[in-house]
């Protein structure tokens, strides 16, 4: 099967999956005993008529099937509806997507930049100091909750005044020249990127180390060494190429987390991203916004998996697309 046909087939397969995901999400949201207008209703200054009008505006007065149908109909015309706050969901998502993407891409870059060499190094120098050092570091990274690390770094920033406390820009951002603007955002990004990198590092570094260790025990590596190939060539040309496959699958998952993987960190660090938006939307049952975020996550997961499979094909010619 050629690659384009394979992609097309996968896309067609994904459609019913998306449909099922959307129905499940919608049903679960509707079943949740959350009143989307709670804060209005708890306000004695709001009259009954005002709340009725709000229900009508949001379409909450219609039966659930009708609401779902309306949602699907809007989706087909690329209209994601309005959020409970009255703004357009697409605009809300677009406003935040850039910020989250910036954070995720930087994190992704730093994580892989550190994790892969660190994994290789640890595998090659197994049992030595470096391996143990990374072992401890990744153990901490795996066991420490992100929000705790974020809070600790915030406290550090507060005590030292070296870094700003949360957010993405200083209040006077627009009075700065472009160079200082980049510097300002970079300063604000240090803590969130550090937190996410540190936590993400653990999994990938360990995976890399484990895979490479497996491969290094293989017969063909021994053969290569026996042939008298230099150690560098043995490791980087023969062993590494074979060890990298599971990581490509991981890469696919990482892709799906690009827009949704940092909700907690974003919330703790006051980062204006999608995760925070979605989290708040779930808590207030902002159905259109939650549905849009969930569908976006689902699409990215499907695309990420597809990408990983196709990439595997290119990296490893032994794999055939079926």
């Amino acid at each position: 099967m050629s690659v384009p046909v394979y992609i097309l087939k996968r896309i067609i397969q994904a459609l019913p999956l998306l449909f099922i995901i959307s129905v499940l999400s919608f049903v679960m949201l509707k079943l949740a005993p959350i009143d989307p207008l709670a804060s209005l209703k708890a306000n004695p200054a709001m009259s009954t008529a005002a709340i009725k009008a709000e229900e009508q505006r949001l379409g909450l007065d219609k039966p659930n099937e009708v609401q779902y149908f309306l949602w699907v109909r809007n989706l087909v015309t690329f209209n994601l509806g309005i959020s409970t706050s009255g703004s357009d969901v697409t605009e809300l998502l677009m406003e935040r997507a850039g910020n989250t993407l910036l954070l995720s891409v930087l994190t992704f870059f730093f994580t892989w930049l550190v994790a892969i060499p660190a994994g290789v190094y640890a595998a090659v120098n197994r049992g030595k100091f470096g391996d143990k050092f990374f072992g401890i570091l990744t153990s901490i990274g795996m066991s420490m909750p992100t929000f705790l690390l974020a809070l600790l770094l915030l406290m550090g920033a507060l005590a030292t005044h070296w870094l700003p406390i949360g957010g993405l820009q200083s209040p006077d951002f627009y009075d700065l020249d472009w160079l200082s603007q980049i510097g300002d955002e970079a300063q604000h990004l240090v803590i969130p990127v550090t937190v996410l990198t540190f936590v993400g590092l653990a999994g990938i570094q360990r995976q890399m180390r484990g895979n490479l260790l497996d491969v290094l025990r293989a017969e063909y590596v021994r053969t290569a060494r026996a042939k008298g190939l230099p150690e560098n060539k043995v490791i980087y040309k023969h062993a590494l190429r074979n060890a990298v496959n599971p990581l490509i699958t991981l890469l696919g998952f990482e892709f799906s987390a690009l827009l949704s993987g940092a909700a907690l960190t974003e919330t703790v660090l006051a980062y204006p991203g999608l995760g925070r938006l979605t989290l708040d939307a779930v808590l207030t049952k902002d159905i259109n916004l939650v549905m849009a975020s969930l569908m976006l996550g689902a699409v990215l997961l499907i695309v990420g998996n597809l990408l990983a499979d196709v990439l595997l094909k290119f990296v490893d010619p032994r794999i055939t697309l079926e």
């Binding site: 804060s39 004695p44 204006p272 925070r276």
Partner: protein, 646 residues
């Protein structure tokens, strides 16, 4: 600093209640204990010294930065003169708000505090309250007068008022705002409902370019409060109101171009950065001047940073990234630590006294059936509808301990339906003593029997029920745990279940499937009639016995208790008279009934704490000069300035 310290409110209560000990069917009144030393931290309420009343300055209409005396025959403009000291221009005040930030820049469509408070910085009210006396006074208006039969209100605007696009503000704008936007329910129709008496909107007519007349069928006192509304620019909104009502909420939404917003307040919208901050800039055409005749506001910029929660907000304050923590930003658990940082952080904490909110415990007193089944289990129904049961619970509450342990002293015990800071509080109802013995006597009077440590009702059922509160609110959770402990002493078994706020409201408002709840509601210090939604038997927030509307949306009350009917009458009576003494009588009566019947067992009111950096001048907070945040306690925001920088 001209700081005048006053004694803790409880001390005043001692004086006023020294001889009060009458017994109202099982409720003992006694003098409360005096404030004790550990609570000293928050014991002094800050009072900004009261300046002389605002002066009206008449100047040439073409005055720019500094007012010019009018030449004969020239057009004049009327300015309000600021009441603080003369400050200096420039600078930026950065405040923070926690949550999602504003939802709209359209004041008339806003239905959340954050949006309304932000809009109050951009649009001026028609009439307003004097922050020191609590009396109604003009803002955009120069004068308000009431006809002798109290059915006609005449409001005269100041001369020479202009929008930020220099178009004049006239009676047409007022008429348009009230008769079109408000009357036809564009945006938030609550504005219409608070102005209506028995469903009838007042008749509003233009007298001349600067004067409007508002006529009601009967005298209707709460209309003054309702007229504390911001006026919309007719020349902008006229087009919008030609579209269907649903289009109105989209106008001036958060994605609009800031330049299209035309303001009458001290600031204009500069920029909105989603999820991060709102930047307001100075409105050079604002109609206030300082004592030197210079146009206000002083601040060049007002920045509102959006943060996800209170913790981040306070961290940012410590980190010098924001200048001001407004009311509801400083919690009890932060106050002591913050106090110790005052000097090093170069700021000061202000205690503005109790806020307008009330925190309470309530039981579901509903006796009705839904789909043939009782909404509340008939066994529990009996308990919750027993006056002795509710009074016993009220006597079991150790409010003082709640305040010192959970609120860390940042609160005042509450026994009445109105907050201690309200103008209409009934001062004779001050104390509901913590008395477990009395509580037990009341329970036996109500037929309850205590066997060993457990309480049983007259029919032999163990008293056991569920208590909800909203999860995540540490204060409420802490208070709930204390309540459970107290009720355990009476032999009740209370199962605690913290649930999400939106779920809790769903329970109390929609499916009425709950036993007891600890929650709070905001109140109104100025106009007790604002509580009608809660107290009237057909009210939308009559939570202790919520009656659901029928298919047509009307609530038919068939099972009101005699005292519920009497409260209804108090509210109707209090609304239809302007006479302060009479109004006090009506509203005192409703508070007395609430006090005796205990449908809500009131627990405490929080104290309003703010923290302002010392570099900010003219910060003169008062108990009554409080708006929606971010305007909050900055009632004189136009006069706020940043003191000399090095």
């Amino acid at each position: 600093m001209n700081k005048i310290s006053t004694l803790f409110a409880a001390l005043l209560i001692v004086a006023s209640l020294a001889s009060c000990s009458d017994d109202v069917s099982g409720i003992k009144q006694q003098a409360p204990p005096t404030a004790n030393a550990e609570e000293g931290l928050m014991s002094t309420i800050y009072k900004s010294p009261q300046p002389p009343p605002a002066k009206l300055i008449i100047a040439a209409a073409d005055s720019v930065d500094r007012i010019k005396p009018p030449q004969p025959g020239e057009e004049v403009a009327e300015f309000w003169q600021g009441r603080g000291e003369v400050g200096r221009y420039g600078g930026n005040l950065t405040v923070a708000i926690f949550g999602q930030g504003p939802k709209t820049f359209n004041y008339w469509a806003s239905n959340d505090v954050e949006s309304a408070g932000l809009c109050e910085l951009m649009f001026d009210h028609l009439i307003d309250l004097d922050p020191w006396t609590g009396q109604y006074c003009g803002r955009l208006a120069r004068t308000i007068s009431i006809s002798p039969d109290k059915k006609e209100l005449t409001i005269t605007l100041r001369k020479g008022l202009v929008w930020s696009d220099k178009r004049p503000i006239t009676a047409d704008d007022v008429i348009f705002t009230l008769n079109t936007i408000v009357k036809h329910g564009y945006g938030n129709s609550s504005y219409r409902d608070v102005m209506s008496l028995e469903g009838q909107f007042p008749e509003i007519v233009k007298v001349d370019d600067l004067t409007v007349k508002i006529m009601t069928k009967k005298p209707f006192a709460p209309i003054l409060n309702a007229l504390r509304i911001c006026i919309a620019p007719k020349h902008i909104f006229e087009e919008v109101t030609k579209n269907p009502v649903s289009e109105f909420t989209k106008f001036w939404n958060i994605n609009c171009d800031p330049k299209t917003i035309v303001c009458s307040g001290p600031f204009m919208l500069g920029r909105y950065v989603p999820g991060q901050r709102v930047e307001l800039v100075r409105n050079p055409n604002y109609s206030f001047v300082d004592k030197a005749g210079q146009r206000l506001p002083y601040l060049e910029k007002f920045t509102e940073t959006i943060v996800p929660d209170q913790n981040t907000e306070i961290l940012k304050f410590y980190g010098n990234e924001i200048d001001f923590l407004d009311i509801r930003s400083v919690r009890g658990i932060d106050a002591a630590k913050m106090k110790s940082r005052e000097e090093s952080g170069k700021f000061k904490i202000y205690n503005l006294g109790p806020d307008d909110g009330t925190m309470f415990l309530m039981f579901n007193m509903c006796r009705r059936k839904k789909d043939g089944k009782y909404i509340v289990d008939p066994i529990k129904q009996k308990w919750f509808n027993s006056l002795e049961f509710r009074q016993a619970c009220a006597h079991a509450m150790d409010r003082k301990r709640m305040i010192s342990n959970v609120l860390r002293g940042v609160g005042l015990p509450l026994y009445t339906a109105e907050s201690p800071s309200a103008i209409y509080i009934d001062k004779t109802l001050q104390w509901y003593p913590e008395d477990l013995k009395l509580a037990q006597e009341l329970l036996s009077k109500g037929g309850f029997v205590k066997k060993g440590d457990d309480l049983y009702d007259a029919d032999g059922h163990r008293v056991e029920f569920t208590l909800y509160t909203n999860a995540g609110n540490l204060t409420r959770e802490g208070v709930s745990v204390m309540i459970i402990e107290e009720l355990k002493k009476l032999g009740m078994k209370v199962n605690f279940q913290p649930i999400d706020f939106n779920i809790m409201i769903d329970k109390t408002e929609n499916c009425t499937d709950w036993d007891s709840v600890v929650m709070g509601l905001t109140g109104d210090k100025i106009e007790p009639y604002s509580g009608a939604n809660i107290w009237k038997s057909d009210g939308r927030l009559h939570m202790f016995d919520q009656r659901m509307p029928d298919k047509k949306g009307t609530v038919n009350v068939t099972d009101a208790r005699p005292w519920e009917k009497e409260i209804d009458e108090c509210f109707n009576g209090g609304a239809t008279t302007f006479d302060t003494a009479q109004r006090h009588q009506y509203f005192d009566r409703y508070q007395a009934i609430a006090y005796q019947q205990q449908p809500f067992i009131f627990l405490y009111s929080m104290l309003n704490l703010t923290a302002m950096r010392n570099k900010v001048g003219n910060y003169m907070p008062t108990a009554w000069g409080i708006y929606n945040t971010p305007k909050g306690s900055l009632h004189n925001v136009e006069e706020i300035y940043i003191k000399g920088r090095k």
